[in-house]
């Protein structure tokens, strides 16, 4: 026998980790995963809205000509398309946010838990009221 037996090389008492491989695209596998990622991605569009709002403020402070240029920029078809997508995402954010509100705040009244539906309803009512007030301030012809 010419076979030479090498002593086994391993670190004593150290188990090998078992890690199953997860694809980078795991969130495409099922609709709930994709919904989760879309909900998280909505934050990017929230940030985009802040940029548009600040550009508006900057244009307003620079005078009426700068503001007219800003308004023309908003009419650019690409910007309109981007804002349409943004509206979808911010609405998705609002709906998903209000729908989990009962799980985030367990309101009690006279020792009893307020039903989830009431909390969701209150959130939607607040959304409608706030939207109306803001529209009242902004819609002036």
């Amino acid at each position: 026998m010419t076979e030479t037996r090498q002593p086994a090389r391993y670190t004593e008492y150290h188990p090998r980790w078992y890690r199953s491989h997860v694809s980078t695209w795991w969130w495409l596998a099922r609709w709930p995963y994709l919904k989760f990622i879309l909900r998280e991605i909505s934050s990017v569009f929230v940030a985009w809205f802040v940029v548009v709002l600040l550009l508006q403020i900057r244009a307003l402070s620079r005078g009426s000509e700068a503001y007219a240029a800003f308004e023309r920029w908003l009419q650019n078809p690409l910007i309109v398309l981007l804002n349409l997508i943004t509206l979808f995402f911010v609405a998705f954010h609002a709906v998903t946010w209000f729908n989990v509100a009962p799980r985030a705040m367990a309101v009690r009244f006279r020792g009893k838990r307020v039903p989830d539906l009431w909390i969701v309803g209150a959130n939607y009512a607040a959304w409608a009221a706030v939207s109306l007030v803001l529209a009242w301030f902004l819609v002036r012809s």
Binding site: T24, F49, L54, A135
Partner: protein, 117 residues
């Protein structure tokens, strides 16, 4: 001594920004980004908007919205990158880019609104 975590503060900012964004951004965006540019609703004039933003309360509102919405973005986007792309070795870089971006945006908002004339 246990290490103090700043996670609760960041989470609170995320949560406050989430509520604020959900309540006000859809109507703002619908009007500013679609209804006014496409002429569905007549847009407010320059003079009116300028006078509106001159009000300290309006500027405080815009500043709070920008500040909280940006920190909401930073927190949520950071975890999306952590979980979605599995790039753990870049976690520190992601952390600094997200919160750095939110801080820069907040400073920009403060600068514009403080110097608004």
């Amino acid at each position: 001594m246990a290490k103090q975590s700043n996670e609760p503060v960041l989470w609170a900012l995320f949560s406050a920004g989430g509520v604020f964004a959900a309540l006000v951004i859809p109507v703002h965006l619908f009007l500013l980004g679609l209804a006014f540019p496409l002429g569905w609703i007549p847009a407010p004039g320059y003079e009116y908007l300028h006078a509106l933003v001159r009000l300290p309360l309006a500027r405080l509102y815009v500043f709070s919205l920008c500040f909280l919405a940006l920190f909401h973005w930073a927190h949520r986007f950071r975890y999306t990158l952590y979980d979605g792309l599995q790039i753990k070795h870049l976690n520190e870089l992601i952390f600094f880019c997200c919160y750095g971006g939110a801080i820069l945006g907040t400073v920009w908002a403060g600068y514009l609104l403080w110097n608004f004339r």
